[in-house]
């Protein structure tokens, strides 16, 4: 088990290899479908002008993401009435939906870790090598357990995206995950995909 504290340096990220279990501590940002689209459309390959609090939110999240981590997660949050937010359930969502955006988001913010489930594709794997960064696989569905590693909800941006799609800034301690894509081109997902494809061919011919 390796302990990782955010922010993390390029050198420390390169130490991590596919298969390493890690415990993550520090400040991370949740972001999923709506957030990735918003980042690309408004700031990375702009097709719309920043509106409302867009610029303010961008300026606030930039330092959190720089050498930091984004978590594909749409949590269950208590305290929505009074703003005394607590994460009740906070497992990862399927990451592959962000494949069209992720590599550009990683390069733009110098992300060191993308946390999610199900793995990502070749574009993201290339960005992992280049930036450098890793993909950390959290256990899908283990939402109550993971919520316990969320020590504090610091604040939330873009709550108008809806609770699952908003950007929650959280402080985690001992957040459990496994490295499944590393900064050296290694991907457990590519491996399993290839082996299972071969096995499927056999079974289809049987």
């Amino acid at each position: 088990m390796k302990d990782i504290s955010l922010p993390i340096s390029a050198g420390d990220i390169r130490e991590l290899k596919v298969g390493d279990p890690v415990k993550l501590s520090g400040t991370i940002l949740t972001g999923r479908d709506a957030v990735h689209k918003w980042m690309i459309d408004t700031f990375i390959h702009p097709s719309r002008e920043p509106q409302g609090d867009d610029q303010q939110v961008y300026d606030a999240i930039h330092p959190i993401l720089d050498q930091g981590a984004i978590y594909h997660c749409g949590p269950v949050v208590a305290g929505l009435d009074d703003g005394d937010y607590r994460f009740v359930a906070a497992g990862p969502t399927t990451s592959i939906r962000e494949e069209p955006y992720q590599a550009d988001v990683m390069r733009h913010f110098h992300l060191r870790a993308v946390i999610g489930k199900g793995g990502m594709g070749a574009k993201t794997l290339n960005a992992c090598r280049e930036v450098p960064a890793v993909y950390l696989h959290a256990i899908g569905g283990a939402a109550s357990l993971i919520a316990q590693s969320v020590r504090k909800v610091i604040c939330v941006y873009k709550l108008d995206f809806g609770v699952p799609e908003a950007m929650w800034v959280i402080e985690v301690e001992g957040f459990p995950a496994v490295v499944t894509m590393d900064a050296h081109g290694g991907s457990l997902h590519a491996e399993v995909q290839e082996l299972s494809a071969r096995k499927l061919d056999e079974l289809l011919q049987a």
């Binding site: 749409g74 269950v76 793995g119 609770v163 399993v192 499927l200």
Partner: protein, 290 residues
């Protein structure tokens, strides 16, 4: 009509936070099968710790509390309009109590309703009148990750060499499991419907997920297909979370339907390991849960 709002709320709480024992047993058996110290076994250990914790704290097993799918079997004389209203009230209350995540998003505007209520399909409620005096309500919470890897095939499928027979069904189901990899939160449970039209077929593929994990299909031919698919899907080596391993699926449930001469659909609903399904029964004014 009886006020069942509290009972529905309790049904939702149990479904979201308390994994059924038969599913837990399957996960525990899988944990013993995976190699000691492997990532696959590690995933199952974490999953089972989470199941216990969610039950203890009455917090959602998974943050994606999914589409609530209710199946209501009611005696003659019950108002389905009134039942729907009571279920919807319970859903909104369960959301405010954090048993459910607000999940209903208007597809056109992108706005989340905030209380899990949307159009007539959110929550989904099927009503059916039955003989006798007992009301039963089944609830499944089906998350988006596993719903997204569901698939429907129209046979014959020349790419897979799948004809219009059970051998063809075998081929397309294995293809769907291989395509899903770990993305539907493996190890999953497969609900499969053969026949119907596109709509009825998908609906039936979810309905079969209500069957207990260990039951035997009464049709020997389908029972054999279920066994074959279970064995071969697990030979794919995808494993828990797609980490590689022995356990890719926990169970397979198949149903045959009538179809048009021209159509031969195979619909596969993939249910994640967090197979949240509970039943509420009302007999003689008394509510029980299973």
């Amino acid at each position: 009509m009886q006020d069942l709002r509290k009972a529905f709320l309790e049904l939702i709480r149990r479904t979201s936070t308390d994994l059924p024992p038969d599913v837990q047993n399957s996960l525990e058996a899988a944990r013993e099968v995976e190699a000691t110290g492997s990532a696959a076994q590690g995933a199952l250990i974490t999953i089972l710790e989470n199941v216990d914790l969610a039950r203890e704290n009455a917090t959602p097993i998974c943050q994606d509390t999914g589409t609530p799918i209710f199946t209501v079997h009611h005696p003659a004389g019950w108002s389905t309009r009134e039942l729907r209203a009571q279920i919807e009230e319970a859903i909104a209350l369960a959301t405010s109590k954090s048993y459910l995540r607000p999940n209903a998003v208007d597809a056109i505007s992108g706005v989340n309703s905030g209380n899990n209520l949307g159009d007539s399909a959110f929550p989904t409620i099927h009503f059916e009148e039955v003989e006798g005096e007992t009301l039963t309500v089944d609830l499944i919470l089906k998350g988006g990750g596993c719903e997204n890897v569901g698939a429907q095939y129209s046979l014959p499928d020349s790419r897979l060499g799948a004809g219009r027979d059970l051998e063809g069904v075998r081929k397309v189901v294995l293809d769907a499991v291989q395509k899903a990899q770990g993305k539907g939160c493996a190890p999953g449970v497969l609900g499969i419907a053969i026949g119907g039209d596109r709509g009825s077929s998908y609906a039936a593929s979810k309905e079969v997920l209500l069957r207990p994990m260990t039951d035997e299909n009464p049709d020997p031919e389908l029972a054999a297909l279920e066994h074959t698919l279970y064995t071969q899907a697990n030979q794919l080596g995808i494993g828990p979370m797609g980490f590689g391993g022995q356990t890719t699926v926990l169970g397979v449930k198949v149903k045959g339907m009538h179809r048009l001469p021209a159509s031969y659909f195979v619909s596969i609903s993939y249910m994640c390991w967090a197979h949240r399904r509970r039943r509420m029964t009302l007999t003689g004014g008394k509510v029980t849960y299973s």
